[in-house]
Amino acid sequence: MNLSTAQPMPDSLLAQARAGDRNAFATLVRAHQGSVFSIGLRMLSRRDAAEDLAQDVFLQLYRKLDSIESLEHLGFWLRRVAANLAIDWLRRLPYSATRPLDEGAEVAAQETEQDPLMSRELVRLLGELPPHPRAVMLLRYQEDRDVAEIAAMLDMPVNTVKSHIKRSLTALRGQMIGAKLVVEDSP
């Protein structure tokens, strides 16, 4: 499903899914699978692990559908579970298991880019961040969530989220400038 053309979903879809309508549940999955999969992919840097994570997240959703109050709550819930599950997996998995050598291109946005090298490098540098700042950056810039929402999703103070964003931006920008992929004074 193309995310950019996703249609707004009726609220009744959630009720139908709760009532056991598998087609309604599949529609909910299609609407959010790209987001959940992308969090897993950019957190874990592996497509297979990201798919496992996404499947785990949606299986949890299926079991806890009754606790989902609205479509907005559904989006919040999915991102929160995906990000925290990815952080948890990163803690458990050995470092080498989450650092494939040649998946950088896949982890970058799958679309025609004017500068694919920059995208690849950006994603690679993002993957160098520790798990919590990485999750914060993904929720902020991939999922476009505000600071308070990210704090609630990751169960951390708002100021900690702001601090992670500021430090990560400084580090990423500095490394991109060092690699001459960003001009220092670019507007």
Binding site: M1, N2, L3, G20, R22, F25, A26, V29, R30, Q33, G34, S35, V36, F37, S38, L41, R42, R47, E51, A54, Q55, F58, L59, Y62, E106, V107, A108, A109, Q110, E111, E113, M118, S119, L122, V123, L126, M137, L138, Y141, Q142, E143, D144, L169, L172, R173, M176, V182, E184, D185, S186, P187
Partner: protein, 135 residues
């Protein structure tokens, strides 16, 4: 608008970190992995049918309890009787033992007295008449 280089970099991040598509067939694989639909078990309502009066059903439990109580009481009485009988037998045996002991002591006393008399008779000096008669 974004004159600040950091803002420009943030916009760049947003543009390059757009969500990617999930793998082909992800939804199908997920739906296949879902647990089977758990339909609630419907138990048909069956009204309780009035059954004919049954003394065994109605009084079964009280009767069993009463019988158990009766058996317990009878057993208690029997045990008490047995214990009283045993005590009586023991008492009679004890009295018999005491009587036998008394008789034995009496017999010993009599025997002892007889022996004393015999000893005295043997050790006492003979009388004069006796000597004359002997010679």
């Amino acid at each position: 608008m974004n004159e600040n280089p950091t803002n420009h970099f943030e916009e760049e991040l947003r543009r390059r970190l757009r969500p990617v598509e999930a793998p082909e067939g992800f939804t199908d694989r997920l739906m296949a992995a879902l647990p089977a639909q758990q339909k609630p078990v419907v138990v048909p309502f069956t009204p309780r049918v009035a059954r004919p009066f049954s003394a065994a059903r109605q009084f079964g439990m009280p009767a069993a309890l009463a019988a158990s109580l009766m058996v317990a009481v009878l057993l208690g009485v029997q045990v008490s009787k047995d214990r009283a009988h045993d005590e009586e037998v023991a008492r009679v045996e004890e009295q018999k033992g005491i009587a036998a002991s008394r008789e034995l002591m009496q017999a010993l006393r009599v025997t002892s007295q007889k022996l004393d008399l015999a000893y005295e008779a043997v050790n006492s000096p003979p009388a004069a008449g006796d000597e004359e008669n002997r010679s």
